[in-house]
């Protein structure tokens, strides 16, 4: 770990300004990912700006019937929020599928979006990694890649995004609200928030230097049956091999986003139109341009089978719901 200096910010714009003033500065909230990476010298910020005191920790109704989730709302609190559980069940379930109770107590909404990959080569500073050290190469390509991306990857990087929460938010069409040092704000659709690796896998999001996430907004509820299925080798405390976030309407239509397959939560709106025709067709659309490795080609089959199971579950639940007076 490199030495660093530390300060507490007292307003979002001041926090953004503080980062802009100090090259190499980073925000810290829960610290559940950043501190580990600093200990391994994968992240080497010279300065940390603690944003925990910014009072961005409430979930509020929006005028159009949605929810505005403060950037600092802890994963545990968000998963337990009655409105989230009632209207955005896929989000609550995704959150609870992630990490452990202790980590969820610390981890924040914004921090969860900004998690870095769990590619094992990213974690070993003896190995080349374009994400950790741009231009050094990718040890994962041709290496051990069972966990890694099958779609949207590039010759520079085959890492995946590890979040469960973000997959559900992608299915829910969330938007990310930010503030910059000069006080200007903007909203970024979650589809555009995470980037594909391309030639610059070290640039992972649409955030500009110093830009701070203040909230994530969910549009008004879309109804339907909400399912989040996370497939993994052990029953808990493991990253997804693949995950499926689905919102399924009574007519069989709906939305699907995938985790564990790409550098970002993976959703292809055009493929969703085929949902009433079943998992095979939808998967073909979702993974049309897949380029799996020898180690992870099984994920293509796994996505299709998991999606089929999710759609069957949603159908069963939907029918039971319809029968309830």
């Amino acid at each position: 770990m490199r030495p660093f200096t530390y300060e507490r910010a007292d307003s979002p714009a001041a926090a953004a300004a503080a980062v802009e003033r100090r090259p190499g500065a980073k925000f810290i909230a829960g610290g559940t990912n950043l501190l580990d990476l600093m200990k391994l010298e994968i992240e080497t910020p010279a300065h940390l700006i603690d944003v925990n005191g910014l009072k961005l920790d409430t979930v509020e109704a929006t005028p159009d019937g949605g929810l505005r989730i403060g950037a600092l709302v802890r994963n545990t609190a968000l998963a337990a929020d009655q409105r989230v559980r009632r209207d955005y069940g896929v989000l609550s379930r995704a959150l609870l599928a992630g990490a452990s109770g202790q980590l969820r107590n610390k981890a924040t909404t914004a921090g969860n979006l900004l998690q870095r990959t769990r590619c094992p080569y990213f974690y070993d500073t003896n190995q080349p990694c374009n994400k950790r050290q741009p231009g050094s190469g990718c040890a994962a390509i041709g290496g051990y890649s069972r966990q890694l991306a099958v779609v949207g990857s590039s010759d520079a990087c085959i890492a995946t995004h590890p979040s469960d929460m973000a997959v559900a938010m992608r299915a829910l069409d969330a938007t990310v609200e930010t503030v910059r040092a000069d006080g200007t704000t903007r909203t970024i659709p979650i589809a555009e928030f995470h980037r594909l690796p391309g030639d610059t896998p070290h640039i992972e999001t649409a955030l500009l230097p110093g830009e701070l996430i203040t909230a994530v907004t969910l549009p008004k509820p879309v109804g339907g049956t909400h399912v989040y299925r996370k497939v993994r080798d052990r029953a808990s405390y493991a990253f997804a091999l693949v995950s499926v976030a689905a919102v399924v309407q009574r007519d069989g239509g709906g939305r699907v986003a995938l985790g564990g397959v790409a550098h970002k939560p993976w959703r292809v709106e055009a493929a969703e139109a085929e949902m009433p025709r079943g998992a095979k067709v939808v998967t073909a659309g979702l993974l049309a341009d897949a380029k799996p490795t020898h180690d992870n080609a099984f994920k293509l089959t796994l996505v299709e089978r998991t999606l089929a199971s999710v759609l069957a579950e949603a159908k069963g639940q939907g029918e039971r719901k319809a029968e309830t007076p």
């Binding site: 490199r2 070993d124 089929a308």
Partner: protein, 730 residues
């Protein structure tokens, strides 16, 4: 005390204290944080500095150059140790690669430097400033690729009868190959040591299972007299064989302390534990079984291939096959190839843990070919003598009783022998079983016992407690022998100034260490009797008193103002040659497989164990359920993922190296048969901590097969290996 004839009745047989499910006496210390682990000695060595180990960034080759300048100038740095300034070092015979590498590099993360600084953070930061250039060399990393170059091991093959002929002639045959991956001990407490020099004397506070090995090997490596080294390791946060040996933490702490001129503390980081220390090596195992249609085995062969660094030992994965089942024609042996991976060595139940994962699936497959129930097939081929020597009986062998009792308790009769038939919602459900087998090893062990004027009995031995319950069973032994309650017994372990014990490993600790305490207590009883002027054979020790004839003297009084002390140990004759001493059991598992995703979840498990006298059913049960958990890990998830190009284990942290979590282990049950084996020791006990692991993986695999009809012969059984063979989705 020489133990060369089977035990007769002795004070342990009273079972007033021994055999009771006593809470562990060190429990309160651990739950209140007062038990001092290696890294936590804060007061023993003043002015301690902190060392950070740098591991090699390549698997094989040479260090071309090492630039220490920036690190030396970094804040707080007091010393840097490398092979260049460490002085002459030997390599102990129990280490395969040198513990401080350079310029030659023998494996990934081989230690090449220790940076010592005023604080832990300064040491770690400065270590990040060390620049090393390497000249890599080609290495061999893939066992399958070098398998054909493997050689027979020095023990040679066990050959009985004419295997080839009998196998060729057998009406029913199986010939399958199974693989097990490299595994990590992944114990909770990393390797850690504090080293302090006083003149030419060295003291290390460390975490080690075998105190005398540590003293021997540390002194040999430092080329100094053994009596100048003291090792202290009273509490150990798990070892599983990973802490049997001197490792880089202890050697580098000693070297760092010498260089810095003050005490130095070194803990290995988690990534170093996977690639710097030892691991259970991968195996490729071929099993061939021939039988007559009634299920009688006529031919059995088991060969295993593993790799290691030059001079390293093989994984003895076929050894149980010499003894577990009958069969007139046999061919059994281990093969070893050279690999440039980190050193392969013992991990809990070395040999049997991996070997049973293959043999017991082969037995299941063979039963299926024969159309026999797998329990009955095993019973049909039971043997009460060493199959290679009919004149050599097992001292005790209740395998059949374990199998039958387990079948009854687990509801085996309800199992559908046709696989893939039972559904519970979206889950496919199956039952599987396997025999359990692990040898009982005898090794000498000594202790010192003191009786003071308060009537307190203090036991001192360099035995270790790696979380197993050694403190408690030793206290129970001394309490039983001296006729006092547990509250009158103090146990001090893990210090090389105490008599040399068996140590903890190979499930030999409990039986041998308590037998050593037994021997010392016999001697103390004699000393008490002598002081009272009575014949020790006539003295009865009970309720804190010595009773001889019409005399009744409190122990405290007998001890006198100076107290009494006795030291002795157990040494074994030929009973383990005359008799084969092994432990037996049966594992039963119910597993469910998600019909869509292939995720496997164990639902319930049962182990039945026949392992001699159970000294403490509570700590023994903890050992067995822990072992069963480890078996689930081995079956379903544990694998050091190998990068075959660069030669290292990629998933070198506990996020990447998955071991079971609570949610994976919903229900476990353990039954111990009531057994006492007078051939094993005066305690009539045997090992049990490793028996609980041997066979579990196969039982899980067999349950998965019963659930799905699919065989996966390549551990761990992960969904990617059979997903495309699951029934099509409806």
């Amino acid at each position: 005390m020489k133990f060369d004839t089977p035990a007769t009745t002795n004070p342990i047989d009273q079972l007033k204290v021994v055999g009771k499910p006593t809470d562990r006496i060190d429990g309160p210390l651990k739950t209140t944080g007062k038990a001092t682990y290696a890294y936590e000695w804060h007061d023993v060595a003043p002015n301690v500095a902190y060392g950070w180990v740098i591991g090699s960034g390549i698997a094989k080759g040479r260090i071309a150059s090492m630039d220490l300048e920036a690190a030396r100038k970094a804040p707080g740095v007091v010393a840097i140790v490398t092979a260049e300034n460490a002085g002459p070092l030997d390599k102990s015979k129990r280490n395969t690669a040198t513990l401080l590498g350079g310029p030659e590099i023998e494996h990934y993360q081989q230690a090449v430097a220790l940076v010592v600084a005023e604080t832990f953070e300064q040491a770690r930061t400065a270590a990040g400033l060390v620049r090393i250039d390497y000249t890599p060399a080609d290495g061999a990393y893939d066992l399958a690729a070098v398998k054909d170059k493997a050689e027979k091991t020095k023990d040679g093959d066990s050959v009985v009868g004419d295997f080839a002929g009998a196998f060729a002639a057998a009406p029913v045959k199986l010939d399958e190959t199974y693989t097990t991956p490299d595994e990590s001990h992944a114990m909770m407490e990393p390797h850690a040591t504090i080293a302090a020099w006083e003149g030419d004397r060295l003291t290390v506070w460390t975490s080690n299972q075998m105190i005398d090995w540590m003293v021997t090997d540390l002194s040999a490596t430092l080329k100094m007299p053994k009596d100048k080294v003291r090792v202290i390791s009273p509490f150990i946060g798990g070892g599983f064989g990973g802490k049997l040996f001197l490792r880089a933490d202890a050697l580098l702490a000693a070297l760092g302390a010498r260089e810095a001129g003050r005490p130095v503390k070194v803990g290995l980081s988690r990534p170093l534990m996977m690639n710097n220390t030892t691991h259970r090596p991968a195996t490729i195992q071929r099993v061939r079984i021939g039988a007559t249609p009634d299920g009688t085995i006529t031919a059995i062969a088991h060969e295993s291939w593993s790799g290691n660094l030059p001079g390293g030992s093989e994984e003895t994965a076929t050894d149980q096959t010499r003894l577990l089942y009958a069969g007139a024609n046999r061919l059994i042996g281990n093969r070893i190839a050279t690999l440039d991976l980190p050193e392969g060595n013992a991990m809990r139940a070395p040999g049997e843990a991996s070997g049973m994962m293959a043999l017991e699936v082969a037995m299941d497959e063979m039963a299926e070919k024969l159309g026999m129930d797998p329990v009955e097939f095993r019973i049909r081929n039971d043997t009460q003598t060493d199959p290679a020597d009919p004149n050599r009986p097992f001292s005790q062998r209740q395998l059949v009783q374990c199998l039958r009792l387990g079948a009854e308790r687990f509801g085996w009769a309800k199992r559908n022998p046709k696989p893939g038939q039972v559904r519970d919602g979206r889950w496919l459900v199956g039952l599987g079983m396997a025999a359990a087998f692990r040898n009982n090893l005898l090794t000498k062990s000594a202790a010192r016992v003191r009786l003071d004027q308060r009537g307190i009995v203090t036991v001192e031995t360099d035995m270790t407690d790696i979380g197993t319950g050694s403190y408690t069973i030793i206290a129970q032994t001394a309490a039983e022998m001296m006729g006092v309650g547990l509250d009158k017994v103090a146990v001090r372990l893990g210090d090389s100034s105490f008599p040399v014990s068996a140590g903890s490993g190979g499930q030999w600790g409990a039986n041998n260490a308590t037998a050593g305490v037994y021997a010392a207590c016999v001697k103390l009883r004699e000393a008490v009797a002598q002081r009272l002027g009575v014949n020790s054979a006539d003295a009865r020790f009970a309720d804190g008193q010595v009773v001889a004839g019409n005399r009744k003297v409190p122990l405290a009084e007998a001890a006198g103002a100076d107290g009494l002390s006795a030291e002795d140990g157990i040494e074994y004759g030929n009973l383990d040659k005359t008799y084969q001493q092994s432990t037996f059991g049966a594992h039963y598992v119910e597993a469910a497989v998600d019909s869509a995703t292939g995720e496997i979840r164990v639902r319930r498990m049962l182990a039945v164990c026949a392992a001699g006298r159970i000294l403490n059913p509570k700590s023994a049960r903890s050992q067995v359920i822990g072992a069963m958990t480890m078996g689930v890990g081995a079956a379903l998830m544990e694998e050091l993922a190998l990068d075959k190009r660069a030669g290292f284990f990629v998933n070198h942290d506990l996020a990447g190296y998955e071991v079971p979590v609570h949610a994976d282990i919903p229900h476990q049950e353990v039954i111990f048969l009531d057994e006492a084996d007078p051939v094993s020791s005066p305690m009539k006990a045997k090992g049990v901590g490793e028996l609980g692991l041997c066979g579990v993986g196969a039982a899980v695999a067999n349950a998965v097969h019963n659930a799905t009809g699919l065989r996966v012969r390549e551990y761990p059984i992960t969904l990617d290996k059979f997903l495309d063979r699951l029934p099509a989705m409806g």
